[in-house]
């Protein structure tokens, strides 16, 4: 089985979000980048298929040279090879176009992605790739098994879950639950050493189409100070929620 894992390179969750150049772009100052958390679940599941079912795992990112350490980290975790499409992501559609071409050229059975990246939260790239290639797609995936050419996926729905069966190839938008938090891999020394000699192919973008463009950014307005209520007067809290905030 050939697996492709999408790796989105995003600011660490503790990052302070600031903008620069007249609020036209994200301020990279002091920001650490990591593998998108949802993609980490996908990558760890891919490692499971590699170890238990002999799959080969390729990771791919659409981004400029600065994303390579993130791809190397995925190699250190155990991916066999990496591809970087050398382009600045213009929007979700642009990224989906590039990734569709990588898939068309490589012929993968299973494509694992995150359901959403935590920077621009589009939640659109995997679904768009599925649409462009007319592949099957499952989103919000919290469980995945593959047997031969069939995949069984569990998807989170409001208030429960749903089990679906698909023929491969399948594109998966994964999230926590796909593997347990405690099973997430961190690169060890040996992994980091071998990652250095694994292949990282750089490709040129195949299209420059985009459909949306970022105009500017804003920070939320500062919050007014909290109103404290004495622990002995919880009825005052009820009064405030009823008469002032009007939420109960």
């Amino acid at each position: 089985m050939k697996i492709l894992v999408f790796i989105s390179h995003v600011p660490d969750t503790t990052s302070k979000i600031n903008f620069t150049d007249n609020d036209s772009r994200f301020d990279l100052n002091g920001v650490q980048f990591v593998i998108n958390p949802n993609d980490e679940f996908a990558l760890t599941r891919a490692m499971w298929f590699k170890e238990k079912q002999g799959a080969t795992v390729t990771v791919v990112n659409v981004g400029e040279a600065e994303t390579e350490p993130t791809l190397r980290k995925a190699l250190a975790i155990g991916a066999d090879e990496a591809i970087r499409v050398n382009a600045k992501p213009a929007d979700g559609f642009f990224v989906a176009k590039q990734l569709s071409k990588v898939i068309a050229d490589g012929g993968y059975d299973l494509i694992l992605a995150g359901k959403e990246s935590i920077d621009y939260n589009g939640g659109m790239v995997p679904g768009m790739v599925a649409g462009l290639l007319n592949y099957s797609f499952v989103n919000g995936c919290i469980g995945l098994e593959v047997e031969g050419q069939k995949a069984t996926a569990i998807r989170e729905i409001d208030g429960g879950k749903e089990t679906l069966k698909f023929d491969l190839p399948l594109i998966v938008g994964g999230q926590k639950g796909l593997v347990e938090e405690k099973d997430l891999r961190i690169p060890n020394m040996r992994g980091i050493m071998t990652a250095r000699s694994k292949t990282l192919t750089v490709r040129n973008p195949t299209s420059d189409e985009s459909q949306t463009s970022a105009v500017k950014f804003e920070k939320p307005v500062a919050k007014t100070a909290v109103k404290l209520v004495n622990a002995d007067q919880v009825e005052e809290l009820i009064n405030l929620l009823h008469n002032e905030a009007k939420v109960i």
Binding site: T13, T14, I17, F19, F93, A96, K115, D119, Y120, N121, G122, G123, M124, V125, G127, M128, A130, G131, L132, S136, F137, N139, G140, I142, T152, R155, I157, D158, G159, G160, E162, T163, L164, F166, K176, K182, Q211, T212, S213, A214, V215, K216, F217, E218, K219, P220, T224, V226, K227, L228, V229, A231, V234, E235, I238, L241, H242, A245, V247, I248
Partner: protein, 322 residues
Amino acid sequence: MSILLYAESSEGKLKKTAFELASYAKGIALETGKKVTALTFNVSDATALSKYGVDKVLNLQSEKLNSFNARAYADALSQAAKQEGANIVLVSTSTNAKYLAPLLAVKLNAGFVSNVVALPLSQPPFSVKHAVFTNKAFGVSEIKTDIKLIGVSKNAYGLKENPATLSVETFNPTLEETDFNQKLIEISQSTNKVTIADAEIVVSGGRGLKGPENWGMIEELASVLGAATACSKPVSDIGWRPHSEHVGQTGKPVAANLYIAIGISGAIQHLAGVNASKVKVVINNDPEAPFFKAADYGIVGDAFEVVPKLIEKLKEFKSANG
């Protein structure tokens, strides 16, 4: 030209998101004179949509679509959009809407922006304001394609009544065979619980509650308020509560009217996921807990004393106020 919306339903009944989208669509219609059309799936009575400004309902009845199927639903929506000449298409940010939206975007060759929090700012150029960095900031994006697909955030625009005269038409799209390549094996759902996605009020507990055995009072508080229960990430990681209750940047987003955080410190990743809630209340015994900086109301105190008192007083309040 018209605006098309995906009117979500569950077991034949329209969901609140359908009325929110109708309100939002009417907001655009009032500025542009466009007509508002809604596509419903296996809903027998959709007249309530007219209260929020829907002019026309496309009524789709099909056994094959009884359970949600993203590919088939996207196919039906794209055919409806084409038939109606819709150049603005609206979906919510529910789990199902997020599943089908990118498929629909490709079918319509529509630029897609999700998590939109306000009416379009200008047109043309057509730009919208949307939450980014899991609610740590907002972005303004321009959509350059002829057809625009917008994912409207829950609770951001709200419900606005604006009656219209409704016509209902039967809608019979010809769905592609490949739409049904997937097979539904089973659905397991706890029907008696309010879900985080639908809840107006969410009661959430953190590590400050010390152990799963102490969740009784969280559940009771939630039940008095008709609320959903939620938790912080470590609480679900250690298995005190199921993953489906984990809220925050890497869990579920919460956009409720009221979010009550009990024994939760207010780490940046937690706050990011709950910021879109309108009113936040924190109960924590540490006055320095960061959550107090993000909350509207707070009580500094021991949860094990405050919460039982709050439950008792709320019960009195509920019986006095019906």
